[in-house]
């Protein structure tokens, strides 16, 4: 997840950052975004939906994309940033190749999800919301995945794992990176 408390803002907003993706892919992503914008008639209240689409196609919401969305919807930059940084679902930094979302909803919490997350943070040497320095794994948390019967639950690259112990969770993570 993005910077916590008011950290020093980035040095400057790079208007044209060198994209990690090649420009053709990038163009395709912008086309998808344009389609969504058009379908919503560039209405400001479509902001969340547009951010969703952008996150889906770009993987994360970089400054350049947020700026583009703000201009297209004719919205203040700070409002777009405010909304994008409010929701857990949006990430403002590139995410890892793999991701693991640990549920911290009530049922999972009661069943020890916090301890699982603590353990993963320790083993991966990152905090929740961060990505390992090799760009392999992003560690995230969620409030109730809707799988309370499987508590404590986590999602590994889109696959739900239930009734986990910290060891199970670690093993699942290892499996993710080994299968590359």
């Amino acid at each position: 997840m993005p910077a916590l408390s008011p950290q020093a803002p980035p040095d400057r907003l790079t208007q044209h950052p060198s994209s990690p993706q090649d420009s053709a892919t990038c163009d395709r992503h912008y086309k998808t975004l344009d389609t969504t914008l058009k379908r919503n008639h560039y209405q400001p209240d479509a902001l969340i939906e547009v951010l969703h689409k952008a996150q889906e196609s770009f993987g994360y919401l970089e400054d350049e994309v947020l700026l583009y969305i703000a201009r297209q919807l004719k919205q203040p930059l700070s409002r777009v940033y405010g909304v994008a940084s409010f929701y857990h679902l949006f990430s403002l930094k590139p995410s890892g190749i793999h991701n693991c979302v640990v549920c911290l909803g009530t049922a999972c919490y009661v069943k020890g999800a916090r301890q699982i997350l603590d353990r993963l943070e320790l083993e991966l040497a990152i905090k929740v919301g961060e990505t390992t320095s090799d760009g392999q794994i992003s560690l995230l948390s969620a409030r109730c995945l809707g799988a309370c019967g499987l508590a404590p639950a986590a999602v590994f690259d889109g696959e739900v794992g239930g009734k986990l112990t910290a060891e199970d969770a670690l093993a699942r993570l290892q499996a993710l990176t080994i299968n590359d």
Binding site: P2, P6, P10, Y81
Partner: protein, 238 residues
Amino acid sequence: MSVKTLKIDGKDVAAEEGTMLLQAAQDAGIQIPTLCFLAGLTPAAACRMCLVEVEGSHKLLPACVTEVAEGMVVQTHTPKLQGFRRMNVELLFAEGNHVCAVCVANGNCELQDLAIALGMDHSRFPYRFPDRHVDISHDQFGIDHNRCVLCTRCVRVCDEIEGAHVWDVAQRGEHCFIVSGLHQPWGEVDACTSCGKCVDACPTGAIFRKGSTIGEKERDRAKLEFLVTAREKHQWTR
């Protein structure tokens, strides 16, 4: 426009329909403590300083956004309310880094005024000492997030009166902070017209004029009132 009659602190009060309790009380000479409220701006009801007791309601209601109603019986300064207010201020002090001794607004700060009025001399809550930063990239002004109470007055004054919408609230929960542009340094946000309205609106020393030192912050609150009257009533009173 129909008139509603009600009782505030035992006083009979008549107010036009749609008037908020805060205003009705003020017109009757009763001052309810506020922090996020600023006349002329859309109320945000963010600070809960103005909570009052209304007979028949088991919840405390924020006077700044509660409309008067016929037959309402309102208490504004019960010991219970004053206790909550004091706790509220204590929490605000513990949440940020409010070091009055080195603040530009020392002696001229609404948070400090509230603490004094409520007889708060220390906070019963552990201080969080959050790691917050100061942005002095703007050539005339600075923002020190350590002193911000998240009242959103700056956000609203810049959006509603100046029309620039430089500020907004970023993040959520305990990580909330006031953000300029796309989390850019304030000085790099093109939308800012350097009008200084946010300096005048800020109740604490969080937004200040550069070059002012301890206790030197001044606010021209009357300028905001003048602008609001001009805008809403087309009356130029200055």
